[in-house]
């Protein structure tokens, strides 16, 4: 018996008609991007477009290369081939100074918040302001309180990160990510490990802040239900390739086997339940023969 087949992309990643983006409105663009960790290929020719002012989710199973895409956009990694452009600039070609200049326009929400544990909530949000601006202390105070008010945690300004629940920490991290009114916010698994109430709160905050501040948001997540409620477009990644994409309405109506498996949480499908292995029967009865 042959080992279980590897998942095959159900269809080529072709941007559908509804997602034809005006070139002038493109915020982030990946063109035929490939990336490997040592010899292990993670991304194999990814192409995606993210327009200004929209929320786009990149979805897929664990280890499919979602976070790698964020790191390429953030300039933490360089692709082996292909182009990564943010605001028209080729990220891999930027020198350290130019890359830091670009990152000043980013906000990043890390999976577990990555709050500075030796600073209070207030100081965490004030940190990027103090580092990159010469604003007077009174103005910084007002701005921090406004950011905290936006995420509903003004009353928690004096707390230390260790005193926050997971959902609160994520909201503080969100306030810090938007501290300098970025043009682009990258969210790495913003819903991971949250209870249903916190999950809904964080989801709605992402949508509300994106619309209020006219920013562009990229979410890397595997929470399909929450994403369908708030995003404008979704890309599905599997085995380093985009295997499906569409608006939330199209995803809900899709008959694509991969999308159906992902949306329904089915254990087996185009993404197999079993890791590739020799025949079960042969392995169990190897000694008998």
């Amino acid at each position: 018996m042959s080992p279980p087949a590897k998942p095959t992309p159900s269809r080529a990643a072709e941007p559908i008609a509804a997602w034809r983006v005006d070139p002038e409105a493109v915020a982030v663009e990946l063109v035929d991007v490939s990336f490997s960790y040592d010899v292990r290929p993670v991304l194999k020719g990814i192409t995606m477009t993210i327009p200004r002012g929209k929320i786009v989710a990149i979805m897929g199973g664990s280890g499919c290369g979602k976070t790698t895409i964020l790191r390429l956009i953030g300039g933490q990694l360089r692709p082996q081939s292909g182009q990564v452009r943010v605001g028209g600039q080729s990220v891999p070609d930027l020198g350290p100074e130019a890359l830091y200049d670009l990152r000043r326009k980013y906000g990043v929400l890390f999976q577990f918040g990555a709050l500075f544990t030796d600073m209070s909530v207030f100081e965490n949000i004030a940190f990027p302001m103090r580092e990159h601006t010469e604003l007077p202390e009174e103005l910084i105070r007002d701005l921090v309180l406004m950011k905290l008010q936006a995420v509903g945690l003004r009353g928690a300004a004096h707390l230390m990160p260790a005193e926050l629940s997971g959902g609160m920490a994520r909201r503080v991290a969100l306030a810090r990510a938007i501290a300098l009114d970025p043009m682009l916010v990258l969210y790495d698994e913003p819903f991971a490990g949250l209870d249903p109430i916190s999950l809904g709160v964080v989801g709605q905050l992402i949508r509300r802040l994106n619309d209020a501040l006219s920013i562009t948001s990229i979410l890397v997540t595997h929470d399909v239900y929450e994403s369908l409620k708030i995003v404008d477009y979704l890309y599905f990644v599997s085995e380093g390739r985009i295997v499906a994409s569409g608006t939330p309405g199209e995803v809900r109506a899709s008959a694509d086997p991969f999308v159906r498996q992902f949306v329904n949480g089915a254990p087996d499908g185009p993404v197999p339940f079993h890791y590739p292995a020799p025949s079960y029967r042969e392995e169990l009865f190897a000694d008998v023969d």
């Binding site: 990152r103 000043r104 999976q111 577990f112 990555a114 500075f116 990159h132």
Partner: protein, 271 residues
Amino acid sequence: MSTDVVNGIAYWLRRLGGAVTGVVAQLGYVARFLVAVLWHTPAAFRRIHLTLREIYFSGVLSLVIILMSGLFVGMVLSLQGYETLKRYGADEQLGILVALALVRELGPVLAGLLFASRAGSAITAEIGLMKTTEQLAAMEMMAVDPLARVVAPRFWGGVISMPLLAALFSAFGIFGGYIVGVRLIGIDAGAFWGQMKAGVNVWPDVTNGIIKSLVFGAAVSLIAVFEGYEARPTAEGVASATTRTVVISSLTILALDFVMTVFMFRGANAG
């Protein structure tokens, strides 16, 4: 010679060569890291409160262990020294023995070893945990260089703290020696202090002790920040990085001490 023997020798030579080139490569990497830290030093000093904070954590919070250790080492040194000097009728030389031993050797070396155990391990663990919890990555993505914001202040905090701690170690050690030698054993206080004053010179004794403690401070701080910054971002990775800091720092202090002593004190008092 059989083929097996030749292959065996070749195998061990390859391993030896690999180990040597590995160590050289690692030393080169550490040297590059040091250059990067020095390069970011002006940026770190522009926010001097960061370095002052590290002096507090590395220096002030190490004071209790340093002072207590210095006191006890001085007391033991005085007891042992007295027993030996008495055999030659030179017990009034106790002050000079205690002072020279502490200022030249024991002060810098023991304070360095204690500093590596207390402050060095804490620096490694802190930076390693910041890496594990993505705080360093968050800083980078906020366009803030962790080398300037996190590493350089901790490095300089250690370099500045260490000579002060070594000086206090020696001072408390001498005080411990005084308590045992003069107060308990009954050596004449005038002889104790007078011999010390006459026998201990600012150059080479005190100055070389300060130079040693500065070098130890730089070595321990560099090892501590490097191990933390390069730690694998897992609980096990941070734990082994912390252990490496203490082990490598201790061995480095002892090796550097021997090398510096050879150059500093060989024949210093001859003639």
